[in-house]
Amino acid sequence: MTEITVNVNGKSYTREIEPRMLLVHFIRDVLGLTGTNIGCETSVCGACTILMDGQAVKSCTQLAVQADGSDVTTIEGLASNGDLHPVQEGFWEKHGLQCGYCTPGMIMSGVDLLKNNPNPTEDEIRHGIEGNLCRCTGYHNIVKAIQYAAEKMQGGN
């Protein structure tokens, strides 16, 4: 067993874990933050995407011990004081989700994308989320959701 300390959504957690434990299992099973989903456990689908020190990472690709000392943001920590993040709002406004299973990961990738490229083209959005699979929406409304957020974050309404 190894002890790690991870700051998740602004709160510090110190826990004893098996060294082989995946970060996504630490977040879901140890901390009980089940908003981050698992769609493949093999780094393909992106359902488990979180922000680690501000970067989007697939949390099934990381061991929990690699997150020792890091700042992690999960979908539960994205809204602030009850206000949805513009990307969350975009997904709601533009019907960017159906079953919602890919959505937390997709939203985290969208947040990361807009941080690096605040005004992306449609093509840049599509490439920006190429590591996230959605089986329901055909991506059309996900692209629109991220466009909505980009506009809103640029100061539009």
Binding site: E18, R20, M21, R28, D29, G32, L33, T34, G35, T36, N37, I38, G39, C40, E41, T42, V44, C45, A47, T74, I75, E76, L78, A79, L84, Q88, F91, W92, E93, H95, L97, Q98, C99, G100, Y101, C102, T103, P104, I107, E122, D123, I125, R126, H127, I129, E130, N132, L133, C134, R135, C136, T137, G138, Y139, H140, N141, I142, V143
Partner: protein, 792 residues
């Protein structure tokens, strides 16, 4: 109608989904929970000689190891839809297999441990002695002499031989035709891939001797019925089934699976510990049912003016090593019966062999039989056009069933007594042609060809059979379905004026909580926010058949509609009493009861609900409360239709296909929520495009699933695709009072052939007539280079 139906309002379910608060199956944790991992057969065909679990039992954290013999008292899972009118040599899964396996991935043992890691670690310590047998994976080869035999009761691996239509008439039409085009096609096997794979939690109560089972199911009521009455042999009242949030289904979560029975049975063995099993993606690919997998030859007969006179089809449908819950119904009722498409084809005959092979189970996957039918018909029409040198839209137009012909019974009674409800097929085609500017497109194509670029335009004019119901049709009239197909609703207006609707259908992405609230709110003249939709728990909802076959709005929604109508009648009676008027003198409009002509003196539905609930002063003989339950069985299915157009460019040097534009013009009848309908179309289209270009489940000759992970199975990604342009025509269905036709599967049923037709059109200069899906760069390149022209 009022103000809510037809509005593109945001979904009520989204806030919990976009904040991570929704609970999917794997999110549920219960005190004392233990975790199951299933040992699956690595062989596609083998006898199980013995299983030694002793070493696994002594591994750290392990609380139990069980094999099929431990559950020998449970019956095999039922096959609930045997093809109608023929022998079905049915063989179905057991909770865990005991004597033999017929596909890789069949469960043979289960480890239960204190953690999932411990359970999976211990799997390797179970020792199974297999006698490995020869395998066959191809639906047609399985029927040939010398093929390995999977089941004693199914000689030549034939589960069923089913026909529809008129063979003699069709042969005559083929004999008399000006042209006959013959084509062999494959509709490849697909892995449905909901992003949330399957899972279940079983909890047995030793005190009350009953079970609670959480499961990723599209139809928890049917699961309870099948598990209790057929597998466990006990009263339905002894089990409660709950579907939590379900992350997509696309058909695969309709069926009863062994693991759902396993968690319940294991919990009982462990004295009632909650047992959770959650599928990995690899397991999802080998052990959850697949879709399609047809090997087909067809002949289409036409006159030289393009009039189609006959269609003869022979299909080998791969059903896998063992039958999933409704497998035989898919390539029969939902396939053969739709082979007239949108056309007046005077002679049709179809023969289907359902066969066993050493592959995973095949059952309904989005569209289920109808995409295969629609693909075949639309390829056939294009082949006729190509043969006659006609424009593909002209051949379509020439053969369309005209608007005045509805209700229309396809020829040769292939629809077994049903009739297409309503349609204006040319209307949808015309709209599509106008929106894509067809004339100029063909010019553009000419210019592209001159410049050495391969541009293609593909059409798909489709019709589907949706709102799958009439119970008498699916059962009594010979389709072989083992139950009814009506749907239920309960509507209550509570004392506070809030409405609760419970439905027997089960949302897993479709947005029932919004659209069903829109129906009730619209009719009651209330805010959508004041209507709550409850579902997915056998404890709290009336029996219902669940969500599939684009039936939730058409059948489930109409049940709600009917209940609200009855509530309005009662509200009028009580309102009249409150207004001291005669019931026949009052009317109900905009949420108010008033004497006709005097709207200012009115009682709101909320006031009436309060009066009905407190029941101090009700008209004589009136029961308290505004509450109604409806069981609605429609008189017919519904038949959405439309035309899709795909424009592609093919790279001559690499064979790569790029979709330049995709336009969907759909007629789903009246829309309850256009935002949600569009979303359904987008997603459906992309699943069909995925089949056309990228997806394909590959088994090797030994029955190993080569495309067994998301790294090997090419699911569509965002950057492969353009925006999907959508538009619509609106031809209300006369089958239900709201005129709804259904929208869940239209996109998938329409799209694959639009893409393939576009690619074949692009390759027309090479004389290419057909390429089997998926149209990977390699296949397209090979086709370009195979006609002796070296690709130039």
């Amino acid at each position: 109608m009022g103000k809510a139906i037809g509005q593109a309002i945001k979904r009520k379910e989204d806030p919990r989904l976009i904040t991570g608060q929704a609970k999917y199956l794997d999110d549920i944790q219960l005190p004392g929970m233990v975790y199951a991992a299933v040992l699956r057969s690595p062989y596609a065909h083998a006898n199980i000689k013995s299983i030694d679990t002793s070493e696994a039992e002594s591994q750290p954290g392990v609380v139990g190891v069980f094999t099929g013999k431990d559950f020998a008292d449970l019956n095999p899972l039922p096959c609930a839809w045997q093809a109608g009118g023929v022998n079905n040599n049915a063989n179905t899964p057991r909770t865990l297999e005991i004597d033999k396996v017929t596909f890789t991935g069949a469960g043979v043992a289960v480890v239960v441990a204190e953690s999932r890691y411990a359970a999976e670690d211990a799997l390797q310590y179970i020792h199974v002695d297999y006698e490995v047998l020869p395998t066959v994976v191809d639906a047609k080869k399985a029927t040939e002499p010398g093929a390995p035999q999977l089941h004693e009761n199914a000689p030549n691996n034939i589960c069923m031989e089913w026909t529809c239509g008129d063979e003699a008439g069709t042969d005559k039409a083929l004999g008399e035709a000006d042209v006959v085009v013959k084509q062999a096609i494959r509709n490849q096997r697909l892995l449905p891939t909901p992003m949330d794979s399957r899972g279940a939690i079983g909890i047995y109560s030793p005190v009350s001797e009953d079970y609670t089972v959480y499961m990723t199911s599209q139809c928890p009521h049917i699961m309870r019925l099948l598990m209790t009455a057929f597998v466990f042999g006990m009263p339905e009242s002894k089990m409660r089934c709950i579907s939590p949030h379900v992350g997509g289904g696309f058909g695969t979560k309709i069926f009863l699976y062994p693991e759902y029975c396993m968690v319940a049975a294991v919990s009982k063995k462990l004295g009632g510990l909650p047992v959770k099993w959650m599928e990995t993606r690899r397991e999802n690919y080998v052990a959850t049912s697949h879709g399609r997998d047809h090997v087909t030859e067809f002949e289409v007969a036409a006159k030289s003016d393009g009039t189609i006179t006959g269609l003869k089809v022979e299909t080998y449908a791969n059903l896998g090593g063992i039958l999933s819950t409704i497998a035989p119904g898919i390539p029969t009722t939902l396939y053969g019966r739709m082979l007239s498409g949108v056309y007046k084809i005077p002679n049709i005959y179809c023969k289907v062999y359902g066969t066993y092979t050493n592959t995973g189970m095949v059952d309904a996957y989005r569209g289920a039989g109808r995409p295969e039918a629609s693909y075949l018909v639309e390829r056939a029409v294009d082949l006729v056009a190509q043969e006659l040198g006609m424009d593909p839209t002209e051949v379509r137009r020439k053969n369309f069933i005209p608007p005045e012909a509805f209700p229309y019974a396809p020829a040769s009674n292939i629809l077994n007594g049903l009739k297409y409800d309503s349609g204006n097929y040319a209307g949808a085609l015309d709209k599509a042609l106008e929106l894509i500017d067809y004339k100029n497109l063909r010019k553009e194509q000419e210019e592209a060809r001159k410049a050495g670029r391969l541009m293609g335009i593909g059409f798909s004019s489709y019709v589907e059979i949706c709102g799958v119901a009439p119970s008498a049709w699916v059962g009594l009239n010979g389709e072989g379905w083992g139950a009814g197909l009506w749907e239920s609703a309960n509507v209550r207006v509570h004392l506070t004026g809030q409405v609760v609707v419970t439905t027997g259908s089960q949302p897993h992405g479709q947005g029932h909580e919004t659209t069903m609230a829109q129906i009730a709110a619209d009719l009651l003249g209330m805010d959508v926010a004041d209507v709550r939709v409850e579902h997915s728990d056998t404890l709290g909802t009336p029996f219902g058949y669940g969500t599939y076959g684009s039936r939730s709005a058409t059948v489930g929604g109409t049940a709600i509609y009917n209940s609200v109508q009855k509530i309005i009648e009662k509200a009028k009676k009580i309102g009249a009493h409150m207004l001291e008027a005669a019931p026949e003198d009052v009317t109900f409009e905009d949420g108010k009861v008033f004497v006709k002509g005097s709207p200012d003196k009115a009682k709101t539905i909320q006031e009436v609900a309060l009066a009905a609930a407190v029941a101090y002063d009700l008209p004589a003989g009136t029961e308290p409360f505004l509450d109604d339950t409806t069981y609605y069985d429609p008189p017919n299915c519904t038949y959405p239709f439309g035309t899709h157009v795909c424009i592609v460019e093919v790279d001559k040097d690499s064979g790569h296909v790029q979709i330049k534009r995709y336009l969907a013009v759909d007629d789903v009848g009246k829309k309850i929520n256009p935002l949600i309908v569009d979303g359904q179309i987008h997603g459906g289209v992309v699943q069909g495009v995925g089949q056309a270009l990228w997806e394909g489940a590959m088994y090797d000759d030994n029955g190993q699933l080569v495309s067994g992970s998301l790294m090997d199975y090419a699911l569509p990604k965002a950057h492969y695709l353009p925006m999907i342009e959508t538009d619509s025509t609106e031809t209300p269905s006369p089958v239900n009072p709201m005129g709804i036709k259904g929208a869940g599967e239209a996109g998938t049923i329409a799209s694959a052939q639009a893409v393939v037709n576009a690619v074949v059109d692009a390759l027309a200069p090479y004389g290419i007539k057909h390429i089997d899906m998926p149209l990977t760069p390699q296949k397209v390149w090979e086709a370009i280079h195979s006609n002796g022209n070296g690709g130039n």
